[in-house]
Structures are given as C-alpha cells and as structure tokens.
C-alpha cells in the first residue's frame, strides 16, 4: 500500500464516521453514503479500475476522469447550496417583516 492510498482511505474513513454520526435517521442517506464510501475506497485501492473506465469514455487517465466529474458535482452542490441560502433569506425576510409590521400595529 502506497502512502497516498493510506492518506486517502484514512480521510474517507474520517468523513464516513463524521457523516454516520450526524445522519443516523435517514436510511436512504445512509445507503447513498455507503455506496459512495465503498466506491471511493475501491477506486483509491485499485486505481486501474478508473483508468479502464476513463479509457472507455475517451479520457486519458482515471485521475482526469475523477477530476472532471468532481467539477460537475461541485458545481451542482454550489447551486443547491445557493438555492438553500436564498430560501433561508426569504424565511428570515418573512420573519423580520412580520415582526416589523406587528410592532408598528401595536403603536
């Protein structure tokens, strides 16, 4: 086992533990997470698998394929987060607005 494999699997293990402690209630989340973690560990331990998938898709190296897909995933995640921030902003606005109007009605 090379150094990078140890480093990455330890990282994944830590993230896994962290998420399992927080997301205990939803079975669906746990299943998805399990799948992702197993996939991550398999790809780390046997990088040749990513290479062969990459070649089939017309990408030179497995590492490049991982890089491209992670850009897509991060982009998606940012959009989701932004949508959630907007939602939160709207909720805060409603609360603050209601408070302002109620206060003014009292006087």
């Amino acid at each position: 086992m090379t150094g990078i494999k140890i480093l990455l699997t330890t990282g994944v293990a830590f993230i896994a533990v962290y998420f399992f402690l927080r997301l205990r209630n939803s079975i669906f989340d746990i299943l998805i997470l399990m799948l992702l973690i197993i996939a991550a560990v398999v790809f780390i331990l046997f990088p040749d698998i990513t290479n062969s998938i990459a070649n089939k898709l017309g990408v030179g190296r497995g590492a490049d394929l991982v890089f491209y897909t992670s850009i897509l995933i991060f982009w998606f995640a940012i959009l989701k987060l932004y949508a959630r921030i907007r939602k939160l902003e709207q909720i805060i606005t409603q609360v603050v607005r209601k408070d302002a109007i109620d206060e003014a009605e009292k006087n």
Partner: protein, 231 residues
C-alpha cells in the same frame, strides 16, 4: 374609495443608516398630507431621536438589515393593511422632489394606469447625473429589456406610484437592489398598465455618497441572472 384624498396615499420611504437628511425629506412631504411610512432597514443607530418630533408618520423597523427591496415590500404590506389606495415609493436621501409625486399620482387617479414610474431622462425630467452613471443607466435599460421585456427610459429610479391592484400583485423577492427590475417583471407578468412620468433627480454630495456606485450595477446584474435561474 377616494383616490383624490391624500389620506389614502401612502408614501413608503425605506432607509438604512440615514442621518438628518431624512427628516428634511419628511418635512418636504408633510404639507401634502400624505400618509408617510418609514421603513428602517436595521440601521445601526436608531433614528428615533431625530424622528420623534414628527408624530404623523408610521414607523417600521427591521431587526436586521435585509436590503432596500425587502424594506419596500414591508412598507407595501403595511400600507395595504392600512387600506392604502395609492402607494408611492420614495428614496430617503433627498434625490426626489415631493412636488413630483402629484404628477405620478394623476394617471392613477384618472384610472389611466396602474403604476407610474418616474424617469429622469424624459423631456421635462431633470438630473445632474455624472457621465458614468448615465452610461450605466443607459446600459441598464437594455439589461432590463432583456430580463423583463420592458424598455423604459430610466432603468433604476426609486420614485414610483401604484394603485392598490398593482401593489397587491407585486411581491419583491430580491431583497437587495434588483427589486427595481422586479417591478418591471411584475408589470409584464400581470399586464399592468404602466406609464413613465418625467421627474427630477437631484444628486447631492450626500446622496452620491449614500447611494450606489456605478459598480453596484454589476451586483444587480448578477442578482437578476440568479433571480431568473431560481424563481
């Protein structure tokens, strides 16, 4: 319902960290007998001190700063609850003239329009905008046209008047400055009858300092793009 009674006209003034200029603005409005709704958008220092002499105003206070769009919407909601027939939005930094309000109300009172938007670039409208600001506003017309389908002479003017029907249709979701375009989106979507009315915009050193720089137009542009993407 009496559209000509100044008591049913509500002037909404959103403000954030304004100093005494706002009391001059209020003083200039008092002779017209409009109902004045002040919306404090979470100012750091409470303006109550210099506002307490003026009793005839409604005062609303946001606990946290949300942005001008949010403050205007709060004012609209409140005015509608108080039975407003005509609603006016008015900037707090003294760039508008109280005497211009009546010319914006007239088309509403004559039932020729549902919403009137002031324009500093129509014939009689006067302004002393700098060259950079003028160019930004010219570009803003096209951006607005692209996003809303309305091509107005003045892209971003804080002075507007609307009737109750229009006010009910308008739901500003953009808390910050992109709300000016949201008015246009609401006009287009609800097929409201609109009219542009010439009105002056007087920039003072104070309003220039308080107001938006030319660069905030970039922020507005991105808010608009995101508005289109997420609504």
């Amino acid at each position: 319902m009496n559209l000509n009674n100044p008591n049913s006209v509500f002037v909404i003034i959103p403000f954030y960290n304004e100093n005494t200029v706002i009391s001059e603005v209020i003083e200039s409005l008092v002779p017209y007998n409009y109902q004045i709704v002040l919306v404090d958008d979470g100012s750091a220092k409470s303006p109550i001190d210099f506002l307490k002499d003026i009793h005839s105003v409604y005062f609303l206070h946001h606990k946290v700063n949300l942005g001008q769009g949010a403050a205007i919407q709060t004012g609209i909601d409140f005015a509608l609850r108080k039975g407003a027939e005509l609603l006016v939005t008015f900037d707090a930094d003294g760039q508008h003239l109280a005497s211009d309000i009546q010319s914006l109300l007239e088309p509403l009172q004559n039932k020729e329009a549902d919403i009137c938007i002031a324009s500093r670039f129509l014939e009689k409208g006067k302004h002393n905008a700098t060259k950079g600001r003028k160019i930004t506003l010219k570009a803003g017309r096209w951006v607005n046209y692209f996003f809303t389908g309305l091509f107005l002479s003045d892209a971003h003017n804080g002075l507007r008047a609307m009737n109750r029907i229009a006010a009910k249709k308008i739901r500003l979701k953009e808390n910050r400055m992109a709300h000016a375009s949201e008015f246009l989106i609401a006009i287009k979507k609800n097929k409201l009858r609109y009219k542009e009315i010439p009105a002056s915009v007087v920039y003072s050193d104070y309003s220039r300092k308080k107001g938006q720089s030319v660069f905030s137009s970039v922020r507005i542009f991105f808010d608009l793009v995101l508005h289109k993407l997420f609504e």
